[in-house]
């Protein structure tokens, strides 16, 4: 069900990423202040935007789950958050590399942008133990949805608070009306943002397809394992 259209989507994603990389290294000019280091911007910022939007999308799917009671929305919510956590790891790693190159430190604790993203990331890292601490699948899905909605609402609030805070070293690139970027840089940035967003969508679809296939195998195993009259279970238990 989820696997439909996965192949063209994957091809489009690889093509977009390759084109994005070409724009970054062969089209976008080298920034005068930071030099070549600024090229990390085209990876780090789209990853951060897509990760944060993905957390909010996870919350929106959780609302749909609580409204309809359909477990499909819970799966969408879980996979959205899961993928955004992976993207969050990439944001923290690329950000640290950029910080070391630019400021001489891997991490700056008194910078609101960095610390707030770490707080959001750690908050979502608790989603997994919270979810899997509940055994009953219905309760697990319901409680996870409540978590996803609450945390999803926190993300834009946190973002706004950081924008209002006094930045010490982290730049505010999109603080001005025109974004503060020349045309070629803005075009490259928007293209990279689209490519990373497409990568997120593709990986979410990939994960949903694998989860759906795994679920169907488990259902099939249960159906086949239903003991025939007068006989016991004959196949190995599910591998969890």
């Amino acid at each position: 069900m989820f696997g439909k259209g996965l192949r063209p989507l994957s091809i489009a994603t690889v093509a977009m990423l390759a084109a994005g990389l070409s724009l970054v290294f062969f089209y976008a000019p080298i920034e005068t202040d930071q030099g070549i280091i600024q090229k990390i911007f085209y990876l780090h910022v789209p990853l951060a935007i897509v990760a944060l939007v993905g957390f909010v999308v996870g919350g929106v799917f959780a609302i749909a789950h609580l409204r309809t009671g359909n477990r499909k929305w819970d799966a969408y919510s879980y996979v959205s958050i899961h993928m955004s956590v992976i993207f969050g790891v990439a944001v923290l790693l690329t950000g640290s590399i950029w910080a070391k190159a630019s400021w001489g430190h891997w991490w700056v604790w008194d910078e609101p942008t960095l610390v707030s993203f770490l707080i959001v990331f750690l908050m979502y890292a608790t989603y997994y133990p919270f979810r899997y601490a509940i055994e009953d699948p219905e309760r697990q899905a319901r409680y996870a949805s409540v978590f996803a909605i609450t945390a999803g609402a926190f993300v834009p609030l946190n973002f706004m608070a950081v924008r209002m805070a006094q930045s010490l070293v982290h730049p505010r690139v999109f603080a001005t009306a025109n974004g503060g970027l020349p045309g070629s840089m803005m075009l490259t940035f928007l293209f990279c943002l689209a490519a990373i967003a497409l990568l997120w969508v593709t990986l979410v679809k990939f994960e949903l397809t694998a989860k759906s296939a795994s679920g169907q195998v488990k259902r099939l195993r249960r159906a086949l394992d239903a003991p025939a009259p007068g006989s016991g279970s004959r196949i190995a238990p599910e591998v969890s």
């Binding site: 290294f25 790693l93 196949i235």
Partner: protein, 72 residues
């Protein structure tokens, strides 16, 4: 393509270039690790499916044998 490469700025792999390469390699490694984990998961699903298919065939054969012996 040739013209594009000719007009592209040279990538200085000095102090800053190493960090840029590092950031993009970290991203690539993360994606490759994720895809490898997914590939392992899909292999496990495939193996389970094969196991279930052979079990279903075995069960069907047993049922047919039982039907034949009941008729006799």
């Amino acid at each position: 393509m040739h013209a594009l490469l000719a007009s592209a700025p040279a990538l200085p792999l000095g102090e800053g270039g190493k960090y840029v390469a590092g950031a993009y390699i970290v991203f690539l490694v993360l994606i490759v690790v994720y895809v490898a984990i997914m590939a392992a998961k899909l292999q496990r699903i495939e193996r389970e499916l094969r196991e279930l298919a052979s079990f279903a065939e075995q069960r069907k054969a047993e049922e047919q044998r039982e039907e034949v012996s009941a008729d006799v």
